[in-house]
């Protein structure tokens, strides 16, 4: 399912003395089965864009098409509910939204709202637990006895229970330890790679953009300033630094090496594995390594 923004603008409290423009002239495509990273610093409009992805907000100018459905300022709110099933959003710190007595019922809440029977919804919850790295024994436990990382997983399972085609993630690993971060990011990547989900990741972590995304959209002051493949955009390291977004450590280090050794890395390495391969080509001449004297 593709999502397209055409000349989208959004003004809060339009027509009142308090009106403030959050987005303008946004043209952007999120292709079916892509992994798009949405970056930009605080106040760039990321959260407002995110809320347009499943019509939690309607554009005040232009149009957003989500699959077959076109949303404009004039769109009636009726009929938008089914979009919420197709596009699932994992908000920041989603564990704050847990409320049921058991984990199973919390995960089942969404499907039940869409008419799935209690029994079937609980079955679905049970099946989802292993996918988010929890075993079935969690089903009848209270979500409030869990660690922060485990609560996060339950909340994510609640979104996955609606079987969305597009999964929108707003800083999904904030506050987790590195091991937990990696597990959750790998899980999302697996959903993208093996189950064909479209992923939209809102993040400050350029390392994650480099490692997982195939498309990158940069927002600044309410509009898209650049869009393209991460490998192309990260070439403009100085510009990204000036935007206070930065580049992955691998890119920064590769550029340091290029200067010092007069090397050229092509293509631009985005991960340490890619960098290691290229370093090996340059220095790996079959000699016994590390024999410094």
């Amino acid at each position: 399912m593709d999502i397209r923004f055409e000349e989208v603008g959004f003004t809060y409290q339009k027509g009142t003395p308090f009106e403030s423009r959050a987005l303008y002239d946004i043209n952007l495509s999120i292709n079916d089965k892509s992994y798009t990273a949405l970056v930009g610093h605080t106040g760039s409009g990321k959260s407002t864009v995110l809320q347009h992805l499943n019509a939690l907000k309607k554009p005040t100018e232009g149009s957003v098409s989500i699959g077959e459905q076109v949303i404009t300022a004039a769109t009636n709110n009726k009929g938008l509910k089914k979009l919420r099933k197709k596009v699932g959003i994992v908000f920041q710190f989603p564990e704050a939204q847990l409320f049921e007595e058991t984990i199973g019922r919390d995960i089942a809440f969404g499907p039940k709202n869409f008419g799935v029977s209690e029994e079937e919804a609980i079955e679905k919850a049970k099946a989802l637990l292993p996918q988010v790295g929890l075993d079935e024994s969690f089903l009848d436990r209270s979500p409030f006895d869990l660690s922060g990382g485990q609560m996060r997983r339950v909340a994510i399972a609640g979104v996955l229970a609606l079987e969305p085609q597009v999964l929108v993630l707003d800083e999904p690993t904030a506050g987790l330890d590195p091991q937990g971060r990696k597990e959750i990011m790998d899980m999302f990547y697996d959903l993208y790679k093996n189950q064909g989900l479209t992923i939209v990741l809102v993040t400050h972590q350029m390392e994650d953009v480099a490692q997982y995304a195939d498309h990158m959209v940069i927002l600044e002051k309410g509009t898209v300033t650049k869009e393209g493949a991460p490998r192309d955009l990260f070439k403009e390291a100085d510009w990204l630094e000036s935007m206070q977004l930065g580049v992955p450590q691998t890119v920064r280090f590769a550029q340091q090496l290029e200067k010092r050794f007069n090397w050229t890395f092509d293509p631009l390495p985005l991960t340490t594995d890619e960098l290691a391969e290229q370093i090996k080509e340059k220095i790996g001449d079959g000699r016994e390594a590390g024999d410094r004297t």
């Binding site: 610093h41 605080t42 660690s147 922060g148 990382g149 904030a174 506050g175 987790l176 330890d177 590195p178 091991q179 937990g180 990696k182 400050h204 972590q205 206070q244 930065g246 450590q249 691998t250 280090f253 340091q256 090496l257 010092r260 050794f261 991960t271 340490t272 594995d273 960098l275 290691a276 391969e277 370093i279 090996k280 340059k282 220095i283 790996g284 001449d285 000699r287 016994e288 390594a289 590390g290 024999d291 410094r292």
Partner: protein, 279 residues
């Protein structure tokens, strides 16, 4: 050595039924002016340990000594005057309607005269570079700014020890950098001892010494260089790998012999330089 915190064989259970103690026979000490990072995966007892130091919990065995005071009911308030704590979520620790009111809150509780309070608030905000925001509403600040105000609130109380409980984990990279820089400056200027509980490699690297917790136990202790040389094992210790370690591991996988000791980025460049020039 001039010890400011001494923890001797403390243990703690959150509930009586809990088979696994949150702290299990932990001992260590911190010298005056020292910066200690406590690392470990989620649930390893890091935060519990911090709470034991300022008496938010009472260990079920062992002793805690802060400055001249043994931690007990009688001394708890004297200890809390010595220890300031910055928590993870910047939004959960504001009480004032303006930045300066918020910083003044702790001082009001100490019953300081108004003139001195005004002066201390100004001074504290200056130290964290937030003076120009004195009249602003805390809610409208960025995460990094909020944490700097929280630090000012502590600095104003002139503590001896500052505990950062994952104080940068909810911030974006810029906010993280700005808070870390502020902690460094304040620590030097006030000669504070700092205890930072963290998953952030840069924060851990700023410390003089790193303590590693696992399942309630203190399992390792060393300088950042010593701890970082554990390479891949760092992940289990709740830390991300420093970049040179990641690259080393990738180089090793591609068949290049890499030195086993910890390399900084500059060290990595030098090593490659030596290696390359020997071709």
């Amino acid at each position: 050595m001039n010890e400011i915190v001494t923890v001797n064989q403390i243990s703690y259970h959150y509930t009586e039924e809990d088979a696994r103690p949150a702290l299990n026979d932990v001992s260590f000490s911190i010298n005056k002016g020292e910066w200690i990072a406590i690392i470990g995966p989620n649930g390893s007892g890091k935060s519990t340990l911090a709470k034991a130091i300022n008496g938010l919990i009472e260990p079920s065995g062992g002793e805690v000594k802060v400055g001249p005071y043994e931690l007990n009911e009688e001394n708890i308030w004297s200890i809390r005057e010595m220890v300031g704590m910055v928590f993870q979520n910047p939004d959960n620790q504001f009480v004032g309607s303006t930045v300066q009111d918020d910083v003044a809150f702790g001082l009001e509780n100490q019953g300081l005269p108004r003139e001195e309070m005004v002066e201390r608030v100004r001074e504290a905000l200056e130290k964290v570079n937030m003076l120009e925001f004195a009249e602003r509403e805390p809610a409208r600040l960025s995460g990094g700014q909020k944490q700097r105000v929280a630090i000012a609130g502590i600095v104003a109380l002139r503590p001896d020890i500052m505990i950062l409980d994952e104080a940068t984990s909810m911030l974006d990279p810029k906010g993280r950098e700005e808070v870390l820089r502020t902690v460094k400056e304040v620590k030097e200027r006030e000669n504070l001892s700092v205890i930072s509980i963290t998953h952030d490699i840069d924060e851990a690297a700023s410390a003089n010494r790193i303590l590693v917790m696992r399942e309630g136990k203190l399992i390792k202790e060393g300088t950042p260089e010593e701890i970082f040389s554990y390479g891949d094992q760092l992940i289990e210790m709740g830390l991300d790998l420093p970049f040179p370690e990641k690259l080393k591991s990738s180089l090793k996988n591609s068949g290049i012999n890499v030195p086993s000791e910890y390399l900084t980025e500059e060290g990595m460049v030098e090593w490659l330089w030596t290696y390359d020039s020997k071709k």
